[in-house]
Amino acid sequence: MTDQAAPRGGPLVVGLGSPDQGDDAVGLEIARAVEALGLPGVCTAIHEDPTALLHLWEGFDVVVVVDAVMTGRPPGAITVIEVGAGKAQLPPEAWAATGRGGTHAFGLATAVELARVLGRLPRRVTVVGIEAASFAQGTALSPEVAASVDDAVAIVGAVARDRVRSVA
């Protein structure tokens, strides 16, 4: 696990979020859990800054990004969006599903769409979003979100395994 440069190779799983802001940490938790699965060929990384994605995924063809989202669905609900270079640009309203997280008005949506314009978006990018209940400072995951981690890990693991097969 690294928070900067992941080794190049198989699918990359990136957990985004802050470890100290309630459910914002769920992406980090899931990336760590996926790493613990020891899936052959799967690399993992964690980071707080969405702008780092443009460097983190350099050289990777397939990427899974896990992050907390707020869409109005029940806390813990899991949303999966395919946004890779093979897909059309998503309209701004689609990105509402990923919330407004990020650093100083530069969130996941901006990172992905900027990478697409610059030709730096991996061919396949899957965003796995976990509906958050709270981003309160200094708090742990909410019970609903904590309860969804195993399901999310299974989904991310399945997507990554599928990516390994597709890469192979």
Partner: protein
């Protein structure tokens, strides 16, 4: 979006002002061609950090306050550590101060490169966002990403994290990075320095609306260097005082339309930020930075807030220079911190956040428990000048159509790189004509 109301007045509304941090609103009323009222409505709820700090240990403010903002956490950490150390009478070493300045250079590089290219340049080049801009200016945006990454990497090395550093403590750091680790960043910093000077040249070619404001400028001044991590307070009217006298000169007050406190300096409106720093401390910039600034069309002072993008670019270059200077002069072996025990008293600290002075004040009991805390961030202090800039701009260009005037007003707000999250977060901008 334009609405015609039943009373005949006209409301122009932007549902959310993009490329600023935080949520607030702007209401401009124009009657018979005269701008009658401008209000920056910050309706993000108060975040109560000052209240959270009461009852906490004196060692906790650097970690707690760093969470207030994802783009200027070092500003909070620097001001809070200085304030707590002042209570205990602790004196840090030159090495600790140098490392604090190096960490702060990382924050300036992160913040300025993000704002110059991702948030502000689209205003000048006629794009709604950096995504659209990237289609035509791909190499420029790629350069911006490299600059930002250089800042992130410096923050990660010195601070332990790119966003919310965890290596800062009262008295210094938990550990010092090694010279070898720092030298590994040198190639990227050298490239960043040259690209920062390219940035100065690039932004100097933009078209700048002609609008100068006679505000009182307030900034920190360091005895030896262009102030970043600490200094004494200086102003364009010649008033100079130590940070410990900040509350005597800067008074916060509440206005009904904002959840962020406004402030006055000796009962007058004032401004903090890059223009204030540049105007007050131009003489402390490096010769190369001075030459680049003058070649870019700046004078030794700057009163056109639209040109803040050039000043930020000069400061970006300066931050790279300073980072390289500190790294090159570093010798391993310095103690990472000095001991700071609990003490009863009141202490104050201030630093130059990328968008202006941030001030912290703490009162502790004999066990070092915080009894009172006060945080004055730069965007709060700049609310009145943002409003007056908007009023001046709206009046000066009142004959523009609503779409163009709305865009100009948004641009005028982004000149300040406002961080509403810091000030208390979304702007709903309305122009009403009747």
């Amino acid at each position: 979006m334009t609405h015609q109301l039943k009373d005949g007045s006209q409301v122009l509304q932007v549902g959310m002002l993009a490329r600023v941090e935080g949520e607030g609103g702007m209401h401009i009323e124009i009657k018979d061609g005269v701008v009658e009222s401008v209000k920056l409505n910050i309706f993000e709820p108060p975040r109560f950090y000052e209240a959270f700090l009461r009852g906490r240990k004196y060692t906790e403010p650097p970690d707690i306050t760093a969470r207030i903002c994802g783009i200027c956490p070092v500003a909070y950490q620097s001001a809070s550590t200085e304030a707590i150390e002042a209570i205990a009478g602790a004196v840090t070493t030159p090495e600790i101060q140098a490392m604090r300045r190096l960490l702060y250079c990382g924050e300036w590089i992160e913040s300025h490169s993000l704002h110059i290219f991702m948030l502000h340049a689209p205003d000048f080049l006629g794009y709604d966002s950096v995504i659209e801009m990237a289609a035509d200016y791909g190499p420029v945006v790629e350069m911006a990403l490299r600059l930002k990454k250089a800042g992130n990497d410096l923050m990660e090395l010195v601070g332990g994290r790119a966003i919310h550093p965890v290596n800062v403590k009262v008295g210094g750091f938990y550990r010092m990075p090694t010279k070898a680790q720092m030298l590994a960043l040198r190639p990227a910093l050298e490239r960043g320095l040259e690209e920062a000077f390219e940035t100065v040249k690039l932004v100097s070619t933009f078209d700048f609306p002609d609008m100068e404001q006679p505000y009182e400028y307030v900034a920190l001044r360091h005895p030896d260097y262009y102030a970043i991590e600490r200094g004494t307070v200086v102003s364009t009217s010649g008033v100079t005082f130590p940070v410990s006298e900040f509350p005597k000169h800067i008074k916060e007050f509440h206005v009904e339309h904002s959840n962020a406190l406004h402030a006055k300096f000796d009962d007058t409106m004032y401004m903090v930020g890059p223009l204030a720093r540049y105007t007050l401390n131009f003489h402390q910039l490096s010769d190369r930075c001075k030459e680049a600034a003058l070649a870019a069309g700046l004078g030794e002072t700057c009163r056109n807030q639209f040109k803040s993008i050039i000043v930020r670019a000069v400061e970006l270059a300066y931050a790279f220079e300073e980072a390289l200077r500190i790294i090159d002069g570093w010798k391993d072996g310095a103690a990472p911190s000095v001991p700071v025990g609990p003490a009863k008293g009141e202490g104050m600290g201030a630093s130059e956040a990328p968008r202006g002075i941030i001030f912290h004040r703490y009162v502790t009991d004999e066990n070092g428990i915080i009894e009172d805390a006060q945080i004055v961030p730069p965007t709060s202090q700049n609310q009145p000048s943002i409003e007056l800039d908007l009023k001046t701009a709206a009046q000066k260009w009142v004959d523009m159509d609503d779409h163009a005037l709305t865009h100009l007003c948004e641009h005028a707000i982004r000149n300040y790189d406002p961080c509403i999250s810091c000030a208390t977060h979304f702007l709903d901008l309305r122009i009403k004509r009747s």
